[in-house]
């Protein structure tokens, strides 16, 4: 199996981008990633595209629609889709394209455009529910998260105040991210706790905003990476993914077992025995504040119910022992579903390469983990990266 490195990354501003087409957003992100890698499109062997449900922008075969912007024309090209989990699944697909020995350089481009849906992306989200048993109840997507959050708080006795701290941390971290949509240097726990009720316990500031954007990565075999960027060798050392049953009303909603399995797979591959000690930085998927905590636990970075305590103690701040979502996360930078690859995989790459600028964490991390979560709340993809 060939070893694989990340040699470039790029992303667009995350915001309502009615001006640009999805294709144009893809191009912007892809070009940045290629520029950082110092490669031209001609030097790319294959292209992977990631984008979430077609229903969001009502365009079928989105992979085909975005092809030219992603630089896939006349190349081996495929779309990978696992809902929100796409954000970390496409880089895994990129990894196996190279690890298999088939290719030396792969461009991975993720895009999302949620502003096209009228009157609101929420109306489209309702279509992800089971058409026979759930949809006749006229659900809103937020319900499913509200119910999960309630169960999580109940089972592990987690306080709403500690969960609110995640929104505060991430929205403040996002102030230093040039692509951020919802950064807020002054936000407080009280702001979060008193924000508009959506589906309780979920309030407005517990949620990341729908957004448009794109992100891209250039992956290369380690041999090629040593030639083109010997100054920063950041490798993908472990990958894992796993999904639970579609029967969501039969599942344990408090602990994400599927994620623990995906993480275990990635850690074993990376030779990590004790993730609590060996992981120095993490970008877990944070579309809701409680998800960051639940995902830290699923990633085995702490015990179930302990993530809130670490957050309260400041361990997960940028200058803490285990910085978590130093990018500002989905809560602070925005949530263009698949495109959040830029603040998960992209951020860990920039941090390990010491290229995160104002967002650079203090503990000079060598090993990092990132994760995305999606489908019907039961899929996770995990990537472990290292600086060599």
């Amino acid at each position: 199996m060939k070893e694989v490195a990340v040699v470039g990354a790029g992303m667009t501003l995350f915001a309502s981008r009615m001006m640009e087409t999805g294709k144009e957003l893809c191009w912007e992100a892809a070009k940045q990633a290629l520029d950082e890698a110092g490669l031209s499109l001609q030097e790319i062997d294959a292209v992977i595209m990631g984008t979430a449900p077609d229903a969001f922008d009502g365009i079928h075969k989105k992979g085909e629609n975005l092809l030219d912007g992603a630089g896939g024309a006349n190349k081996p090209y495929m779309r990978v889709y696992t809902g929100g989990g796409t954000a970390v699944m496409t880089p895994i697909a990129g990894w196996w394209h190279i690890a298999s020995g088939m290719f030396d350089t792969v461009l991975v481009v993720n895009e999302e455009k949620m502003s096209s849906a009228r009157p609101h992306a929420q109306s489209v989200f309702a279509h992800i529910w089971d058409p026979i048993l759930d949809r006749p109840l006229r659900p809103n997507l937020v319900w499913i998260f509200a119910m999960e959050m309630q169960r999580y708080m109940h089972k592990y006795n987690v306080r709403k105040e500690d969960i609110a701290l995640v929104s505060v941390k991430n929205k403040r971290n996002a102030v230093d991210h040039p692509c951020a949509q919802l950064a807020d240097p002054k936000i407080t726990v009280e702001d979060v706790l008193n924000s508009e009720p959506m589906a309780l316990p979920v309030r407005r500031l517990d949620i990341s905003p729908p957004s448009d954007g794109a992100s891209a990565l250039v992956l290369a075999s380690l041999d090629v990476a040593r030639e083109i960027c010997p100054d920063r060798i950041v490798t993908i050392d472990g990958v894992g993914w796993c999904i639970d049953t579609t029967m969501w009303t039969n599942r344990d909603l408090a602990f994400p077992k599927f994620l623990a399995r995906a993480a275990d797979q990635a850690y074993r591959m990376a030779g990590i025995k004790d993730p609590k000690k060996e992981i120095h930085i993490a970008e877990p998927y944070d579309p809701f504040n409680y998800k960051e905590l639940q995902h830290m636990e699923g990633l085995l970075l702490c015990e179930p119910g302990e993530a809130a305590i670490l957050t309260r103690e400041g361990v997960t701040q940028r200058d803490g022992r285990l910085p978590v979502c130093p990018s500002g996360g989905l809560l602070g930078v925005g949530n263009p579903i698949a495109a959040t690859m830029g603040i998960k995989v992209g951020e860990i790459y920039w941090q390990l390469a010491r290229k995160a600028g104002k967002r650079q964490v203090r503990n000079d991390p060598v090993t990092g983990v990132c994760q995305a979560w999606g489908d019907l709340m039961q899929f996770s993809s995990v990537l472990v990266m290292r600086r060599r």
Binding site: P131, P139, N140, W143, P197, P201, V202, L253, K355, G357
Partner: protein
């Protein structure tokens, strides 16, 4: 390093001035409920809740299915349940399906049915209860639509209400 991104966020008014095309897809679908969920729906019409047992793992499954996804073998028999259950989780929703704000909250959650395997249940509404009285672990029972109005749908149950009269509103 991230280069300074191009473009900017447009206001709603600016976005409306961007050249664009608006269209509504014209599509309708008929989704099959399948033999398991189909019979479950038919039984709801009669005011009964039906499950399916798998003799491989011994689970009593709701929603019922014709095969067990764990044992990967056919399930074995139909099992009638009393219809009562326990709240596993819930939400008090101030938004409807289109994200419109609503004054009177929707009470919704997941309940596990009595007689089914642990944690096996469905999503449904809760009613005849004050939002602040709801709790995880509350015992609930179904409130059915009048028989003539039932149509073989999950909404043949209007909602679930507390079994204890003191908890009802």
């Amino acid at each position: 390093m991230i280069s300074q991104p191009r473009g900017r966020k447009l206001s709603r008014e600016e976005a409306e001035r961007v050249p664009h095309v608006v269209a509504r897809p014209k599509a309708r679908y008929a989704w099959s409920a399948g033999p398991a969920t189909g019979r479950f729906l038919e039984e709801l019409k009669e005011g009964r809740v039906l499950a399916r047992r798998c003799n491989g793992c011994g689970r009593v499954l709701v929603p019922p299915r014709m095969f067990c996804e764990r044992c990967f073998r056919p399930t074995d028999e139909w099992v009638y349940l009393p219809g009562t259950g326990t709240i596993q989780t819930y939400s008090i929703s101030y938004i409807d399906t289109d994200a419109n704000r609503i004054a009177k909250p929707i009470l919704v959650g997941v309940l596990a049915f009595d007689g089914a395997s642990e944690g096996c249940g469905i999503m449904h509404y809760f009613g005849e209860v004050a939002p602040e009285k709801l709790y995880i672990g509350m015992e609930v029972e179904p409130v059915w639509k009048p028989q003539a109005e039932r149509e073989g749908a999950i909404t043949d149950i209007k909602y679930f209400r507390p079994r204890r009269k003191e908890d009802r509103q």
